[in-house]
């Protein structure tokens, strides 16, 4: 049954852009007419160190703040989150709610038989896919992994449209935002790589859009029930 609000946990590694992804996810959901909040949680800022971000989306005001301890959706941005425990919760699906969803960016299946049994009992659907390779194929850089993950989220969810995602991505890259030194550096690296900012945005949009289609089809195939009510417009 579709809920009035959902909580999304995104354990990632520093530099992968999970903070940016949660930011865009919340902006897109806000554009679509939802109440939405995003926030990051991290220790010392270091590449490859654990860094989590969270998005909460609902048709009711969102009060809950901080880490998402009981998520509806868990998005694992890097295999090391699971294999090396680079996250703030272990196992990576700790607290996941019934009828939930887990998206794992990995080229191999990382779930043990016990994991599978537990998640199956909770009716949690799991999609393991190499979204880094997907980003390389679509955008020509692994730096677009977060855009692939973002598209994957909304494709599975089904209630936030592509135009709203586009709005979220454009808002993030065309407005002036405060970011930490590390993120600002990464932004400039990405910009150089794509030469022009508009190219970058288009590549990001294309990657998110392709991932959206992929998970929308997957959700249909595995019978993923609608998780979130449509926005009250």
């Amino acid at each position: 049954m579709a809920k009035d609000s959902i909580k999304i946990r995104m354990p990632a590694l520093g530099g992968q852009g999970a903070v940016t992804a949660a930011h865009i996810a919340a902006t897109a959901a806000d554009t679509e007419g939802y109440f939405a909040v995003s926030n990051p949680f991290f220790g010392a800022e270091k590449r490859m160190a654990p860094s989590e971000s969270y998005a909460r989306i609902g048709t009711v005001p969102i009060y809950d703040r901080g880490e998402v301890i009981y998520p509806d959706i868990v998005m694992i941005y890097h295999p090391q989150v699971i294999t090396m425990g680079k996250s703030y919760t272990m196992p990576f699906y700790a607290g996941v709610k019934e009828n939930g969803l887990i998206i794992i960016n990995s080229d191999v299946d990382l779930l043990t038989d016990t994991d599978k049994k537990i998640l199956d009992n909770l009716n949690v659907k799991v999609l393991t896919k190499d979204f880094t390779q997907f980003a390389i194929d679509e955008a020509g850089t692994e730096l677009a992994t977060n855009m692939a993950m973002l598209g994957a989220l909304f494709g599975a969810l089904g209630t936030v449209s592509k135009p709203a995602i586009e709005e979220g991505i454009k808002d993030r890259f065309l407005k002036k935002y405060t970011a930490s030194g590390g993120t600002a550096t990464l932004d400039s690296v990405i910009e150089k790589k794509f030469k022009k900012k508009m190219d970058l945005i288009q590549k990001n949009l294309d990657t998110a859009s392709a991932a959206f289609d992929l998970t929308a089809a997957w959700a249909k195939e595995v019978g993923l029930e609608p998780m979130l009510e449509a926005p009250k417009k």
């Binding site: 930011h23 919340a26 902006t27 806000d30 109440f35 939405a36 909040v37 995003s38 926030n39 990051p40 949680f41 220790g43 010392a44 009711v60 969102i62 009060y63 809950d64 703040r65 901080g66 880490e67 301890i69 009981y70 808002d171 405060t178 930490s180």
Partner: protein, 400 residues
């Protein structure tokens, strides 16, 4: 980029039209934005005709401090510089404020403690500076995460302390703070607290007035003590220190001054009631027998718990304290009529808010005040933790 001009009767130096705090907070048309607490503080300072700001970086307030610096570069803030450390910053803020400047600064956790002597010093000067405190853990093991234990250390400094719940409240409160702190019969420093990360780094919808308006400038000649200048050294009481007890006036002033500072904080109540629309906000079921007394993010978590408990058939209400100094005892007593159980969820290890509540209610109300749940060191407090504690209390042995 704003244009730098002389202040006129109608416009400030950056060309913004001058408006009253009432117009800014209650009447000016607003539009929706989507931003973090750090970003929204910049928007508030931009509309506050701020004369001076001093900064020093420490997570999680570094972005806010940086953004106020951008405002200076854009011509909205008169003076901005980076101090040598937090003790230096807060001393320099005292200097700016005593010289008659509307002054704002920000700090967090260990920075607050490093600067601590200054806050008690600030209130003694009766200057009206604003500190925006983005609370962070101060206890070892080292953490950069939200934990508001540091607020307990500030409670008896003689400064006003307000607590904002979210990004929207941070905007409105940091503007209202100047309006209240600068009242001639109040005129004490104000600390506007928010929880670090939960507010500073959280991005959400916020309604803002246009940025072509700003508060009327501060008028230091309405202050209880004259601003320092070449004729007036830093407050007569600093030139002729009370401690010298060199004549009857200095002796009598010394005897009464600390009481006077606390009276001034109490005198802020009617102004705060007006600009904050009440010192305590009550939500939930009016006739509930269970109440949460909260401030900051804990209010948010209690509201989430309130909504979930309602689904379980348990009625609760949430008292959100917006001022901690002055402490809104009368409002709390009024809101607790008919309540049997009080819970005080907090983001610190000691439970300073529950201690405050207990001492304020002692001998006035007889009810079960449960000091919890509490989390510390930067842990989050899911509504589930609050619900569990409530159910165990009202339904012993049966659990949630």
């Amino acid at each position: 980029m704003s244009k730098i001009t002389d202040m006129t009767a109608t416009h400030n130096w950056s060309g913004q039209k001058l408006v009253s705090a009432d117009y800014m907070l209650f009447e000016a048309p607003r539009t929706k934005h989507f931003m973090t607490g750090s970003e929204v503080l910049k928007e508030a300072v931009k509309r506050a005709t701020v004369d001076a700001s001093v900064s020093y970086p420490i997570t999680p307030q570094s972005e806010a401090a940086h953004l106020i610096g951008e405002l200076w570069a854009e011509g909205y803030v008169g003076v901005y510089f980076r101090g040598e450390n937090e003790f230096g910053v807060m001393s320099e803020v005292a200097g700016c404020s005593m010289a008659g400047a509307r002054t704002i600064t920000t700090t967090s956790g260990p920075g607050t403690l490093r600067a601590m002597e200054n806050f008690a010093q600030w209130s003694g000067t009766r200057a009206s500076m604003q500190l925006v405190l983005m609370a962070r853990g101060i206890n070892s093991p080292l953490t950069i995460q939200p934990d508001n234990l540091e607020v307990q250390y500030l409670l008896e400094t003689g400064c006003m302390i307000w607590y904002a719940e979210n990004v929207q409240e941070l905007f409105d409160m940091s503007l209202a703070a100047f309006a209240v702190a600068e009242q001639p019969d109040v005129h004490v420093p104000i600390i506007t607290a928010v929880d670090g990360f939960f507010v500073s780094h959280t991005r959400e919808a916020v309604m803002l007035p246009e940025d072509d308006i700003a508060l009327f400038p501060y008028n230091p000649y309405k202050a209880p003590l004259p601003p320092i200048d070449s004729e007036m050294p830093p407050g007569r009481f600093l030139r002729d220190p009370f401690v010298m007890k060199s004549n009857y006036i200095s002796y009598a002033t010394h005897a009464s001054w600390q009481w006077e500072i606390r009276s001034a904080v109490e005198r802020s109540k009617p102004y705060a009631r007006h600009y904050l629309k009440g010192l305590v906000h009550v939500t939930g079921t009016e006739d509930a027998e269970i109440a949460f007394i909260t401030c900051g993010t804990a209010s948010h978590q209690a509201k989430e718990a309130n909504r979930e408990l309602e689904k379980l058939g348990v009625k609760t209400k949430v008292l959100k304290l917006r001022t901690i100094r002055p402490f809104p005892t009368d409002e709390i007593i009024e809101a607790l009529k008919g309540v049997k159980y009080v819970f005080v969820p907090e983001f610190n290890v000691v439970g300073w808010l529950s201690n405050e509540v207990k001492s304020a209610l002692y001998g006035k109300l007889d009810m079960d005040i449960h000091a919890g749940p509490r989390v510390a060191g930067g842990m989050s407090m899911p509504a589930e933790a609050i619900i569990k504690e409530v159910m165990e209390k009202i339904n012993p042995g049966k659990g949630a």
